[in-house]
């Protein structure tokens, strides 16, 4: 009995933390999204329950389609390149050579920089008038590209910046995953006469699968909610062409002098739902793998 009580006592801090920092804010966000808040009722209370009206409004808004498509493109393209480039770099560094530790450390720089610094730097590099990228294009005889100010390019630009920021994370996790693959396996495949490519495709890659799955899942959750890079570089513009669900949610709630808390919370919840679905998929995949 006593041991039991002690057990519960040890649980209290964790439960209090979870309730205070996760459950309550989540509950508040859901509550915000199903009420018809105005600035007046936000301050004085008494916002009426409106059920799913905020959600219906958000889904019916033409911005929703753009934001959803942009979010999917931004996330998938970012993940694909972050993962492939990260994996290529991890394989490269796994061979171990002189200065490899130093170089690997340099690769981490994008991760260590505050996002405001990296995003502002990218915005400056890609500036259509005075940017370094357009200057470089000119040197090789190409015309300037309106990276941030053309609706056709803005999403590409923020995606490129986001890929650059995400590579180090993939590199680090995949590199440590590679370190955990026993050396004998590679030696065995070499003895069996497998080529480098065959070794990678039939030995390294399958053995790396659990690490890859967690890297991609963490990357997915992280990329879905990317806000700062886009907001700093384009504010979701021009005219909404790089708006994602995350920036739209912010824009609704804080980007205007008249905050619209209800729709903003609704968009936020949609984003959370997408992340939860991805999490559930991961757990399912993992179970299947364990059974297999």
């Amino acid at each position: 009995m006593r041991a039991r009580l002690a057990g519960w006592a040890f649980l209290v801090p964790l439960v209090a933390y979870l309730v205070g920092c996760y459950a309550y804010p989540l509950f508040t966000n859901v509550d915000l999204s199903i009420r018809g808040y105005t600035v007046r009722s936000f301050v004085h209370g008494g916002a009426p329950l409106v059920g799913f009206a905020n959600y219906a409004g958000v889904f019916g808004d033409p911005t929703f389609r753009t934001a959803l498509v942009n979010t999917v493109l931004f996330t998938l393209v970012s993940l694909f390149f972050q993962y492939t480039i990260g994996l290529a770099a991890a394989l490269f560094f796994a061979r171990g050579f002189r200065l490899s530790a130093t170089l690997r450390a340099l690769f981490l720089v994008p991760w260590l920089l505050p996002l405001i610094v990296s995003a502002s730097t990218w915005a400056w590099l890609l500036n259509s008038e005075s940017g370094l990228v357009n200057a470089a294009l000119k040197v090789v005889g190409l015309g300037p590209v309106n990276w941030l100010t053309s609706p056709d390019w803005s999403l590409v630009s923020v995606t490129i910046a986001n890929i650059w920021i995400g590579i180090p994370f993939n590199l680090v996790v995949l590199y440590s995953g590679l370190q955990n693959i026993p050396r004998e396996v590679h030696e065995a495949s070499a003895l069996d006469g497998a080529s480098g490519w065959q070794t990678f495709w039939h030995v390294t890659f399958p053995l790396l699968r659990p690490v890859s799955a967690i890297t991609l899942l963490l990357g997915l959750v992280y990329t879905l909610k990317v806000f700062d890079v886009i907001w700093i570089m384009t504010k979701g513009g021009p005219s909404g062409s790089s708006t994602t669900l995350a920036t739209w949610s912010y824009e609704l709630g804080f980007g205007n002098m008249l905050p619209r808390f209800g729709p903003s919370a609704a968009v936020g919840n949609v984003l959370i739902l997408i992340a939860v679905v991805a999490g559930l998929l991961y757990i399912r995949l993992q179970r299947r793998q364990e059974l297999a």
Binding site: L18, A23, T28, V39, V43, N127, T149, S150, L258, P259
Partner: protein
Amino acid sequence: MFPAPVPARLLAALGLVVSVAACSSTPATTATPDTFSVWDPYPQFTAESEWVKTIEKCGTEAGVKIQRQAYDTTDLTSKVLLAAQQRTAPQVLVVDNPVVSTLVEAGVLKANSDVGLDAAQVSPNLVAAGTVEGQTYGVPIGANTLALYYNKAVLAAAGVDPASVKDWDSLNAALAKVKAAGKKGITFSAIGTEEGTFQFLPWFWGAGGKLTDLPSGKAALELWKSWLDNGYAPNSVVNNTQTTSWQEFATGEYAFAENGTWQLGNAKKAGFEYGVIPVPGRTGGTAPAPTGGEFVTVPVQDNKDTEAKAGRIASCLTAPDKVLAADTALTYISAVPSVQQQQVSAQADLAVWVEAVKNAKGRTGDNLGTKYPKISQPLWGAVQAALTGAKAPEAALRDAQAAVK
């Protein structure tokens, strides 16, 4: 991040209990506090600045201590709304003028007549942003607005006399000459935020446009679009804030820049001779530019005595003898005509700005109030859509008008 099926439900239930408990206990302080808090959007002013000393002096006169807190201006609205919800709003709040009507709508601010504040000495066009249904909330501390800065050397090299720029045709002619001389024409900010609308309004109003009928200002959007098409303005304006637009002008390559009173200090440091002309109306005259600048207001408190004392501090902060120091530090034009005269006699080049402020218009005026943010957002969207070529100017404004709810 990873959902745990059963505990999640339990936690949600617990969250419910906690939140109900939090709602039932509202703090009930009825005594007047010894220390009054003052919030302002001037983080650039430190404790040693003239502004903070003035606040403290005004506090002493009202018999209270002052706790001053500076926020970034974009953060202030949500901070105040949250504080008001928790009943911890400051006693005195200095806030950007278009936000006043939102805070009035939220029931956060006291009317001047209730707290002994008086905006009678202030120019009516500047008070308009703080007037809702006949009641005025707060007093402007000063005003800033937009005008055209020009680079004297660039204009001289292109053979343009700045005094010749009187309407849009003469401005276009000047821009054409500048471009022919191999320099860049004009830079401004058309970013997809309130800043973009702020910069567009002088042209919109100068074309006779009305915020209640956005297509009525299509000539202004066609003008901006033609500048991009003709290469008079750089493509970067679509993503320029007023600060990055200023940085472009500061390179010395540009003939004109649309920017605000607050850049005067930087203009002196730019390293080239500059001048300022008002934004011209389409067919001449000075176009009304939007007013910028903050109001000193009194948020609702728990008792009348606190509100009255806060009103005294607010009066003191906006009194003609005190406000000059703050306006000088902010490089604002005073909202009080007599103080404006003092400013011009001390610094003659402010005359053009005083004129611009006299012609300026509050964004939330014309009884728009909280309708303004709902108009402003589609409007900056339309500007961006037209400038990037996604839509024709007129169609963009028509769509924006349809989006105003």
